[in-house]
Each structure stands twice: as C-alpha cells, then as structure tokens.
Symmetry: C2
Subunit: 156 residues, 2 copies
C-alpha cells in the first residue's frame, strides 16, 4: 500500500463529488463529530441542518473541521480534511447566500427536504425549520492510498 499526499486541486475535485462528510466542532476542548451532507461551491461547503448540539456549539466556536473519504478497501482509499469556519446563513444578512445554498443543496438533497417536510407535518411543529450554514474553507489536505492495482477512483 502506497500513501501519497493530494494536491489542493485534487482535494477540490474530490469534494465536488463527495456527498457525505463528518463535521467536527468543539466546545471547551470537547470535540463532537457528526455526519453531514454537503455540497461545495467557490471555497465554501454548504450544509443544511435542524437546530441541535452542533449548531449550538458552532455558534459559540466557529472553528470546524470536515473530513470526507471514499473507502474502497483497506488499501484503496481517499481522505480529505478541510479546516474552516462556520457561518450561519441568517436572514436578512445572508438572504442571497441562503437562496444560493438552498438551490445548490436542493439539486442533490431533494429527498432530505422532503423528509424534513414530512417530519414537520407529523410533529405539527414548525420549529423544525431548515437551517442553512456554510463553512468557509481555510485549508485542505488529502491522502490517497493505492495498492498498486491502479484502479482510478471515480473522484480522481
């Protein structure tokens, strides 16, 4: 197994095709990691969510890390790590960005918005509202493991 570093360009290409990541945030030096769906555009990762621990924590400490990978086998995998900063897309300050996020995410995660809608209907609770945020990418790094069989990843 060979492990090599990925260029910033390779990391970007990987993130454009990735759908799932793990978001790490921390409060008083206690880390917290949760899976997220995201889409990337022009130096940002866009995410929607409902209110919960991660949003609460990121409001207090906006420093975050997002890790995304594609593990084909023990010796064939890609892992990309993004360091960045949380920005909540609140109205009216971020109306344009919020619409942009909504439109980008709807292209890929229509099912999620539907599920959220169903949950709202069932719970009769309009407080379950989609909340949009983005992560400004400050730095990226990536590692790629290959076993010499040289089968390209779909994301490379």
């Amino acid at each position: 197994m060979e492990i090599s570093e990925m260029s910033a360009e390779e990391c970007s290409v990987f993130l454009e095709r990735a759908t799932v990541g793990r978001l790490g945030c921390s409060l008083e030096n206690q880390p917290y990691v949760v899976p997220i769906h995201f889409t990337t555009d022009d130096g940002y990762l866009y995410v929607f969510s409902t209110f919960g621990q991660k949003v609460k924590w990121m409001r207090d400490n906006p420093k975050v890390c997002v890790q995304s990978d594609e593990i084909r086998s023990e010796s064939q995998w890609v892992s990309v790590i993004v360091n960045g900063e949380f920005e909540e897309l609140v109205e009216p300050q971020y109306t344009t960005e919020r619409q942009h996020a909504s439109s980008l995410l709807a292209k890929r995660y229509h099912w999620w918005l539907n599920a959220l809608g169903e949950r709202q209907l069932k719970a009769g609770d309009s407080s379950i509202e989609p909340l949009f945020f983005r992560i400004r990418i400050d730095s990226m790094s990536g590692l790629r493991a290959t076993d010499g069989k040289n089968i390209p990843f779909k994301s490379s």
Copy 2:
C-alpha cells in the same frame, strides 16, 4: 424516514461490528477529524496508529469523540457517537494493556500491520513504529434512520 434513538446496548452491539470510525480531537478549540480503524472491548476502543497530529493533540488534550456509521441509503443509516478519553498505551506502565490491544487488533487488522512493516522496510526507518492507544468510553449515543421497509442492519 423515521429517526429513532438507540439504547446503550444497541450502540455497543453496533461498535462491536464496526470497523471504521472518525476520531475527533481538538486543540485550542480547533477540531481535527481523521478516520481510524478500531476494535472495542470492555468499555474501551482500541486503536493503533503512527505518530502524527492526532496523537500530538490527544497528548495535550485527551478529550475525544469517535463517530461511526453505516450508511445504506439516505433514509437507512445508523450513526453512533462516543465521547471518551485518550489513553496512550506506553511501556512499561501499560504492557499488559498494550499486549491486549495488539492481540485484539491483529485479529482484524493484520493487513495494516503488514502494510506498516512494508513501509518501515522501504523507508528504512524504524521510527515508524506502531503506537497503541485506547479510548475510555465515557458516554455513547446513537441514531437510527429507517424508511419503513424494515430491512435489518447487519449490526442490529
């Protein structure tokens, strides 16, 4: 899609079958997330690693979070989150625990030890030594999403 909380027992059963997790650590409130292979036994997650940023950070701040999931589809997934504390299994203080970790991990990750051996040979660098640590599980929580089709996860 229905999302339900998992019991501690269900989280434990899931972790026993899981092979990959994402470890979150943090230093000066900057989170860092990396994929790990682990095995669990009696309230601990056991991991081996080479020395790098995560170990450096965990030596400074032992509070960690490990997230592990099985994503079958957008509406069928399990995600378990462990909060715990890093303990490096150094000699001679932890000789017994180190042997235990080595034996547990070798059962599942023989390929990894082989890859490490090859890297040592190639680099001619004995400083690439396996380093064992464990995470004492302080708390666990889990969510399970089902789409009503009721196909059981292998880990449930």
